[in-house]
Amino acid sequence: MFELGPIFRALLRQKVGAVLIALQIALTLSIMVNAIFMMQNRSTLMARPSGLDEANLFYLSNTVFAQNYPHQAALEDDLRLIRSIPGVVDATQINAIPLSGGGWSMSLQKKAGEGEDGTGVAVYMVDEHGINTLGVELIQGENFQNTDIRWRAASAVDWPERTIISQAMAEALFPGNWQSALGQTVYINNNEPMQITGIIKTLQAPWNGWDGVERSMLVPYQLEGRNNRYMIRTEPGRRDELMPIVEKALAESDKNRIIRGVTSLEETRADSYRSHNALNRILLLVIVVLTLITAFGIVGLAMFSINRRKRQIGTRRALGATQLQVMRYFMLENLLITSLGVLIGVAAAIGLNIWLVSQFELKPLEPMLLLTGVVVLYLVGQLAVLYPARKAAAIAPATATRSV
């Protein structure tokens, strides 16, 4: 009824152009699907929650240049000042900024001693305001008390007795029973014991490319040093307004230091994933360009084929084909070519994906993505052939009796 048989047999006798377009469709499908797959992987990475109240957080650097500077007193004054500013929810000194790319890592082990297995963890040194400032969720145990906070000199090598770790870190230390981590003693620097007094749901490390990015720990330390960073959390929607206010207040309160690098955590996230975003855009561009090239290829082949077959189309019209039947002929022809391309493309896409998975430790391609790619290619093919098919349908039946 739909002439599939004759169209197929006719294609077999004029196969070069059709095969070339089918190969182009196959290439587009395999690249498109795997590019989307890579984009999805990156998007999934970028969408991982940091655990922080990102929208309302910003931080700044405090660089002291004065000699004999009262670091401890100045730090306490600064934090008191910041916390007193209307609109500020809380503030803490912090040694590293999540997602910033720079931080501090250590290894925790369940047994003391050199040579014991350790699990890497990102270290955030904060005071008892750390949890509230960062906006992380404490799901087990308790926060640090003011009495837990210790001053850490720049040259110090010892560690406090208490720590709060992320759930991912608890899971890494106690696989399958992360809840049991609470109250356990773990060892840092091989032999220094630390008791896990709390577990927070999520807190990402500063390095987004690290496979242990969810593993982190809070340590009740305040740092004595010439370079400090303060993390500040504001009331919802007031961050941008408060960033210059806090900067100015700190700068005016003490002339022996420089306040700089006032940055929102959202900017840090954007910077952190800039290359991922750029690559996604490039991949998107590749998909669009490749799809357009394929579409134009289909249009070109169809137009060429129609120009070559004007007399034949006129004859079909003379023999009783309606305009709709002529259009249907070319759309079915395209459907067959696309089907061949899709068949090869699916095999190529799976092959390429197997290689990508083996090379970059990615998850395998989801069948739904492949199916979506197939549907998109069919749609592109049908849309691309629509214009040539309309041109073909417009060929007058009288063409059959003319010399063309």
Binding site: A10, G320, A321, T322, T401
Partner: protein, 252 residues
Amino acid sequence: MLKMKQLGKVFHTGEVSTHALREVDLHVKEGDFVSVTGPSGSGKTTFLNIAGLLEVASSGEFLLDGDNVNLLSDSQRSKMRNQKIGFIFQGFNLIPELNLFDNVDVPLRYRGFDAKERKRRIEQQLELVGLASRMKHLPSQLSGGQQQRVAIARALATSPRFLLADEPTGNLDSQMAQSVMALLEDINRQGTTIIMVTHDHGLAQRAKRQIFIKDGRVSELTAVEGLHSAGLERVTPLHTHGSADAARQLGV
């Protein structure tokens, strides 16, 4: 069956208008075999195109089985072509990528016959033209005469009441031409009405009626009993404007 009244066709190219057909009056009855002759550019093909619903007349009335075809939509004309008219073209117009079976199948598919009926008709028609054993061959594997016979099989496959032939022997040698003409006469004897455009006066004279076209005007030539073999003819004007031209053309 086919009635044309004051039919005209004008082609417009820029500001130039060309009258391809002028005030044509013609009545073709069921079972007629009409030959159409005339010099090149006289309007024969335009006449055939309009008679075959391939083109629409610019003026006048054209009734096919009582239906005014000028009032039909493109789709309705396509269906009428498929159901009532068979075409034989000078260049055969077979589809080169399709074998004989699929070529004859083309109009049958548009007709909507089921596969079994299509197969029966294809085999029957290819049998009729003596090519049943070659139905899997491509047109390029056949001689010109054989290709024209396939075209005839295709034209007859839908059982049309009306067969239009545009120079059906134009690309054939005389022996092949005679064979194709004999086939057409046989088809006509079985009741199919035929209009055949030809340059070959010998073949034209074998038709039951002869139409002459010049400068878009149509005249009918009627053979005089007993003089046919001598090639002498009397002009019966279908239209007064055309008669003188037609007579001059024939040297009468």
